[in-house]
Symmetry: D2
Subunit: 358 residues, 4 copies
C-alpha cells in the first residue's frame, strides 16, 4: 500500500514555529501533490497559551502562498488530528516531546517523520546523550527497533514502507553522505581515524533566546563547540558502522544564517588515483537526484546549496594517493531537516522522490 | 579646580557587563593618565548574585591589557566606592538605575558620567518616555537642572565644570553633530521639516536576550522600527531647539555589529553653493579633534569610523542649491557611548580632550 | 493572439552569466509551462570567446535542475535564435547592447523582455543618462513609443499585448509600487516633495570587478551613493507623473547579498487616519498576487521577501495624520529583475500571472 | 647596538596602499616612540603614476591621526629614502618586489622587515612556490641565509640583531604558535600526521579585483581552497621541523573581513592529562605578552582577537588522553601581518616588545 500513489494524503506538522518548521510549512504548501487540502499546523507543547495564531504571524514570509493567509496554528491536540484523519505527522519538536508523542501518534494510526534526535539511534548507550530513557513511553523499545533512519540515499526501500522515520541530523547528513561510498568500498584506513571538521550556520542552533544565538556573538566570529561531545556523533557511528575512536567530529559556528560545510580527512588503505575515487562516488549516487558529485578538483561551496535540497560532494587527493580531503555541503534547514523530511514523505507516499523539491 | 590636571583620578564603572561597559573598560585600562591605579568595575543592580566575576570572564577580549587579568567585577556597593575614594563614576546601567543612583553618587562627593538616557532631557514632558517620574529620587529636579548634555563639541566649557554629565544617545550624537552648524547658521527651512533616516548596527540594542537581537533576525535583513516614536527624538528637539513637527527620525536595524549612518534631508531657506556649506562645517568643527568634515562630494562610510571616536560628516547639495543631503557616521559604542564618555572625562579632569582616544 | 494560452513558447535568454541572468535561468528551467523544451541560453557581446560554456559552470547552483546539466551557453547568434524559432527573448545584457539588439530581435519576429534600462524611459531628456542616443539604431524612436513599462501591477493589460516590455529597475519597482496608490488617490502634497531613502544589497551592482563590489568594501559597512543622480530617478518621474523637484531619491549599499528596503517620506495634502490609508493600499492591490500589504503598524523587512517575487508594503502615519512613512521591500534580483520578467512573460503568454513563481 | 633604545628611528613603509599597509600606517602613526617624525609612506612598483597621493585618500580611516592629514604617499624612490636617512624599511609589497628590493635596501644601510613570503623560507625547493629564483638578485642567497623568521615568540633574540626580518604568514603564525610548544616537548605522534583545518577572513586575500574577493562570492558562503597546495605550508615545515607528509593544511575562506581560526588535530605519542598540556603551553608562553593561553575547556574565538596583536590558544583533550584538538585565533592583518611587524620593530629597536600595541 505505501508504494501506491495516493493523492489525498493528509499531513500535519507539530512544532511549526521553529526555523525547520517554517521551511516545512513552505514546502508542504507548495507541494504539487498536496494542493487539495492544506496541512494542519500545530504548536509545541511549551506554547499552548499562544494558540491559535495565524501561520503568517509566526512566518510572515509565507504570506501569499496557497492557503497560508487563512491557516491558524493550533495547540497540539490528538482529537483534531483524528478528526482531520491525518495520515502523516511531521514532528519538528524538541526530542523529549518527539519521544513522548510518537507512540501515541502511531497508536492513532498515523505514520510519523520525526525531525528531532529522539528516534535516530538504535544503541541505548549512544542514545543516552538525549537523556530520554528515564521517562521512556511504553512500547518505545519496539518502536525504536522499527524506526528507519531517514536517509533516502541509504535507506530508500525501508523508508517507503516505514511507519516511523527518524529524519537525520544536519551535520550527520553532510558527513554520512560523504563517507558512505568509501566505507562501503572498504577504502578507508579506519585504524588511522577519520577527522570531520564541520562548520554550520546559526539556524542550526534553533530559535532559542540564548547568548550563542545573538547577532553580537555570531557575527564577524567563528568558534568551535562541543569538541569530542556533539550528539550527532552517534549517527555517524551507527550509520557508518564505526567504533568511537575511528571518527572525530568538531562542529564550528559560522557567521551565516544557513548552510553546512564539512571538511573530512581520510587516510586510504591503498593507493588510489583520482579517477577511482570519482567513479566510486559517481556510481554510488548515480540515481540520487539530490546528491551532486562535483568533478575533482572542483569543490562544493555553501552558496551553491543554500535554499535547495542538494548535498554537494567533492574531494581532493594527495599526490601520494593515500590522503583524501572530502568536502560536503548542504543547507542545514533543508537537506539537513525540512526538505529531507519532504523527500522522505515522497518515498512513503509512493510519489517521485523529487516531487515539490526542485 | 576641574580645569587643573589631576594625575590620580580614581574612576569606577557600574554596569561593565554590557557592550558599552566593555568598551569603556578597554579605554580606561589603556588610558595614559590612569596607569597608576586601575578603575573599579561593578555590575548592575540586576546581577548581584553573580559577583565577584573576573573582568576577563565577562570580556575575554580584555585579557592581556594592563591590570585586566587581575580585576574582579563586584556587585555595586557604595561603601566600596567610598573606601576607594572614587572621584568619577561612570554609569553604564539601565536608565532606571541611573536615575536612582546619581543623586546618591553626587551625595557621596563623586562626579558622574551617565551613559543612559536618564538625565539627558530637561523637559519633563520629553523625559516622560523614560517613565522615570513616578519614583524620582529626592533632589532629582535640581540635579536635572544642573546636568550637562555631554556633547564636547557643543558644551565643552560646561562639561569641564560639570558634576553630572549626561552622555548623549548614539543616534542623537550622529544627527545633532550633523545639524548643529546649519541650525546655528539659521540656514534650515524649519517650516519644511527635517527628515533623519538613521541606520544602526545591532550592538545599539544591547545584550538583551530578545528576538530582535538574534543573529537569525538581524543577519541578511534590514528593518525600520520605532517610527515616529524613538526616545532619542527628545535630544534632537532640545539640543537643536526644534519643535516636534520640525524633525522626523526613523531608525533602522543594520546587519552589522556596530556603526551608525544617518542620512539627513534638509531644505535650505536660501540658495547656497557647495563652498558656503563646506565652510560652515569647517569653521564650526575647526578645533574639534573628533569630527572629520569630508570634502563634498566625498561622503562618510561606516567602515571608516568603526572602532574610533570620530564622527564623520559629509554632504551633497542639489543643483538648485536648496536641498541638502547630510551623511553622518560614527561608532555607536564609541563616539555614540564609551569613547565620548572618556572624551567627557578628559574634559572634566582637565586633560587633553583626545587623551587615550587616538 | 497574445492573450491565448500557448504551451510551446520557445524562450531564449541573452546575458545569462550575470546574477539576474542566473536567476532567470533557474526560474525558466523550473517553469511548469516550459517543461517540454528548455530555453536557449546565450552570453553577452563582450564574452564571445569563452563560449560555448556549460550552464552549470557559470551557475553551479543550477546543477540538478531539469535540463541544466546538458545545457551550453553559446555566443549570441541571430541564426541560432531563428533556427530554434524563438518566440520570446529575454535580454539581461548591458543597456547599450539591449538598445542595439531589440530592433533586430523584433525584426526577427520575436517579442522581447529587456531587463536593462535601455527602453524604460519615454522622455529623450531623461533617457540621456544612459547615453544611448548617439548610436541609436534605426526605428528606435518608434519602438520606444510602443515599449511597455513592465510593471504588471500598473500596466498588466498593455503587457499582455506588448511586443517589447521594458522590465523595471529594482529601486524603481520598490518605490513606484509604494507610491502609486497614493499618487492615484491624489493624497500626496507634491509641492512639499517626496523623500525616498533606499537601501540595496550588493547584487544590485552586478558582477563587475570594481572596488565597490569587493567584500572588504561592502561588509560591515553602509554607504550612500549617486545622491541626486541615480539613473532610476527617471522611472519614478515618468511612472508617477512627477516633476524633478517633487521627488528625491538616495540609494545606499547594504552589506547583504540581496534585498531592497525603501523608506519613503510623504506629506499628505489632507489629514488622514490609518484606516483610510490601509484601505487605499488594500484596494489598489486587491488582485495583485505579488504585492503584500502589511497591516500598519506592522512593517516589511527584507528577510521576508528575499528569494521571492513579492513586494511587501507597509506604512506608519504620524499622530497629526499628515506625515506618512512608507516601507517597501523586495528582492532586487527577483521582483526587481528576473521574477518580474517571468511575471511579464506569464502575462504575455496568456498564462496565470503567478505561474512558476510561488 | 640594536639592543640600545633609539628614540629617533626613521621608518618607511613601501606598499602602503594595501590592507596590511594601511594597518601598519595606523600603528606607526600612533606609536609612542615615533612621535617626533612620521614614517615615509611609499607606493608599490605597479603604481608609479598615481603618486603622490594623500595618505588619507588611500585610507580615509586614518584621517585625524597625528601627521596623517599632511602625509603624501610617493612613488618608491631610493633617493628619497637616503635623503630621509631611513633606518628601517617595511615592505608590504608583492613578494617579487620584496625579493628584488631587499638587497638594495640593505646595501643602502637600512634594516628591513618584509611582510611578503619572499624571504621566509630557507629551503630552495620550498621557496620554489614563489617562483623567485629565475631573476634572483645578486647576493640573495647570502641574505637569505641571514634572514630571521620574524616570530618574536620563537626567535626574539635573533630578531633583535637581525638586518632582515621575514615577517611570518598569517596562517603560519596561527598554526606554528599552536604547535611549537608540543613539538619542542616531543609530544606529538608525527608518524600519524597533523591536520590543520584553517579558516580566514577575506582581507587575507588582499585588495585584488578578482572574483573570489567579491562580496557576492564570499558573503553567506564558505569554501575550501588550495587543498594540498597552500604556500604557507613551507613555513610550517621549516619552523616546526616537519617532513611534508607529517602535516596537512587546508585553508577556507570565511565570510568575515578579518580573523583566522585554525583547528588543529594532533595524536599524542603518550597518554596525557589536561593539566600537563595546559602547563606546557603556560610555560612556553610565560613571558610572551601577545599569546593568551586559555584554560581548557575554554576555547578561543575570532571575535576576541580581532583588531589586536594577540594570538589566542586553547585546546581540548579526548577522554583517552591521546587525541588533542588545538584552537588558535588571531587577526590576519595584525598578529598575522602589520602588528607582528611592529612587534619585530620594537625588538629590533630595543624598545619594549609591546610598545604601541596594546
Amino acid at each position: 500500500m505505501p508504494d501506491s500513489p495516493k493523492q489525498s494524503l493528509r499531513t500535519a506538522v507539530a512544532g511549526v514555529s521553529g526555523y525547520a518548521g517554517g521551511e516545512l510549512a513552505r514546502l508542504l504548501l507548495r507541494h504539487p501533490q498536496l494542493t487539495s487540502t492544506p496541512p494542519i499546523f500545530l504548536g509545541r507543547l511549551s506554547e499552548p497559551d499562544v494558540h491559535p495564531t495565524p501561520l503568517t504571524q509566526l512566518h510572515p514570509e509565507l504570506s501569499g502562498l496557497p492557503f497560508a493567509d487563512e491557516l491558524q496554528v493550533s495547540a497540539f491536540d490528538w482529537k483534531q488530528l483524528e478528526r482531520e484523519s491525518i495520515d502523516l505527522l511531521f514532528l519538528a519538536t524538541p526530542h523529549e516531546q518527539s519521544r513522548a508523542w510518537v507512540p501515541d501518534a502511531i497508536g492513532h494510526g498515523m505514520r510519523v517523520i520525526d525531525l528531532s534526535g529522539a528516534w535516530r539511534l538504535h544503541s541505548d548507550s549512544l542514545r543516552a546523550v538525549y537523556k530520554l530513557e528515564d521517562r521512556d513511553p511504553a512500547g518505545a523499545a519496539t518502536l525504536q527497533a522499527e524506526a528507519v533512519y531517514g536517509s533516502p540515499e541509504l535507506h530508500g526501500p525501508a523508508i517507503k514502507k516505514a511507519t516511523l522515520v527518524a529524519n537525520p541530523g544536519c551535520y550527520s547528513t553532510s558527513i554520512i553522505l560523504a563517507l558512505a561510498p568509501l566505507v562501503r568500498a572498504n577504502l578507508i584506513d579506519l585504524g588511522h581515524g577519520i577527522i570531520c571538521d564541520a562548520k554550520s550556520g546559526v539556524s542550526g542552533a534553533g530559535k532559542a533566546l540564548i547568548p550563542n544565538n545573538l547577532f553580537m556573538h555570531a557575527a564577524d566570529n567563528l568558534s568551535a563547540y562541543a569538541v569530542f561531545g556533539h550528539r550527532h556523533t552517534g549517527e555517524l557511528l551507527e550509520q557508518l558502522n564505526l567504533a568511537e575512536d575511528q571518527i572525530q567530529f568538531t562542529p564550528h559556528l559560522l557567521p551565516i544564517p544557513r548552510g553546512i560545510l564539512s571538511t573530512i580527512y581520510v587516510r586510504l588503505n591503498k593507493k588510489c588515483d583520482r579517477a577511482e575515487i570519482q567513479s566510486i562516488f559517481d556510481q554510488f549516487y548515480f540515481d540520487a537526484p539530490f546528491v551532486r558529485v562535483r568533478r575533482s578538483p572542483q569543490l562544493p561551496q555553501i552558496q551553491y546549496v543554500v535554499r535547495t535540497n542538494f548535498c554537494d560532494l567533492g574531494f581532493q587527493l594527495s599526490s601520494d594517493g593515500l590522503r583524501l580531503v572530502l568536502i560536503s555541503c548542504l543547507d542545514n534547514l533543508l537537506k539537513g531537516a525540512a526538505s529531507q523530511a519532504v523527500q522522505n514523505m515522497n518515498l512513503m507516499a509512493g510519489w517521485h522522490e523529487a516531487e515539490g523539491l526542485l
